[in-house]
């Protein structure tokens, strides 16, 4: 026998993987407690495929969150004000 697909066993009556997939990304850590949210969470809990996908999506976001960014170089602000002065200083707003 080929591998068993946990989602076809436990949650066939609630939701399909396809339906879950459509909502999977709306809010990865949704605290929402609507009926549809509860069904999606229940499905994910019992489905190896959907939980693997959700975990990897969360991890993707985390990786980008911790992806280092350099500090703002100190020269940037000086350069900005130099450019503004060169371009005429006083601005032309409402006068």
């Amino acid at each position: 026998m080929k591998r068993t697909n946990s989602h076809t066993m436990a949650h066939i009556h609630t939701l399909s993987c396809g339906k879950v997939y459509e909502h999977l990304c709306d809010n990865l850590d949704s605290q929402l407690d609507s009926e549809s949210c509860r069904r999606i969470k229940a499905h994910i809990k019992g489905c190896k495929n959907c939980s693997a996908l959700l975990d990897s999506l969360k991890k993707t976001v985390t990786l980008y969150k911790v992806h280092p960014a350099p500090k703002l170089p100190g020269k940037c602000r000086q350069e900005l004000f130099a450019v503004i002065k060169l371009s005429g200083g006083k601005k032309n707003t409402t006068r």
Partner: protein
């Protein structure tokens, strides 16, 4: 009694900038430069472009502060300016159909999809963050069209709500949601080969 400008709230500070107060403008730059820099860098992952965007953004603020509606949130306006700087440089449409195809759920039973779903390495993030992965992450996010990338950065990295992201980008909330979904799935697929244990 004299109030120190440092303690002014945004609205009061901006009112001074609108009246041509140079010192108030300097304070406004200091108050928001880390936000602008962080957002700009996350959008382009490139030091030189981020510096350019920092400068362009504040020059725009300086010139257009008169147009800023003081009833709205300043940071929202600022994010819009940075995003527009980035979006102007865009127009590579060939990935769009691929991204749209990500809306369709894959057939979970197929061999290929099973391979794509194989569990990710669960070691701690810090230990996986090596040079190869960082390069792959940079390449992947840059491959994302900028009108998608900007949604991903605002929602997931800057932690903006869907509503604020929609306001910043002048998009509908469903458009924000669908771009975010597609972006996440796209990036996840791009990192997959490096992440399976």
């Amino acid at each position: 009694m004299k109030i120190s400008p440092e303690t002014l709230n945004d609205a009061a500070l901006i009112a001074k900038v609108k009246n041509g107060d140079e010192r108030a403008f300097t304070l406004l730059v200091k108050r928001y430069e880390q936000t602008v820099w962080g957002f700009a860098f996350k959008l382009c992952r490139n030091q030189e472009k981020a510096e350019e965007s920092y400068q362009d953004t504040f020059i725009n603020v300086y010139r257009k502060i008169g147009q800023f509606d003081s009833r709205s949130k300043f940071s929202t306006w600022l994010y819009t300016i940075v995003a527009n700087n980035c979006l102007m440089k865009r127009r590579k449409r060939k990935l769009d159909s691929l991204l749209e195809s990500l809306d369709v759920a894959p057939d979970m039973e197929s061999e290929d999809v099973q391979k794509q779903l194989a569990g990710w390495d669960d070691s701690p993030i810090e230990t996986m963050m090596n040079k190869e992965l960082r390069e792959q992450m940079d390449a992947a996010i840059q491959e994302l069209p900028s009108d998608y990338r900007v949604v991903f950065v605002l929602r997931d990295l800057e932690d903006k709500t869907a509503e604020e992201t929609a306001t910043i980008l002048k998009l509908s909330i469903p458009a924000v949601k669908s771009r975010l979904r597609r972006s996440r799935i796209f990036l996840r697929h791009k990192l997959h080969s490096l992440m399976t244990a």
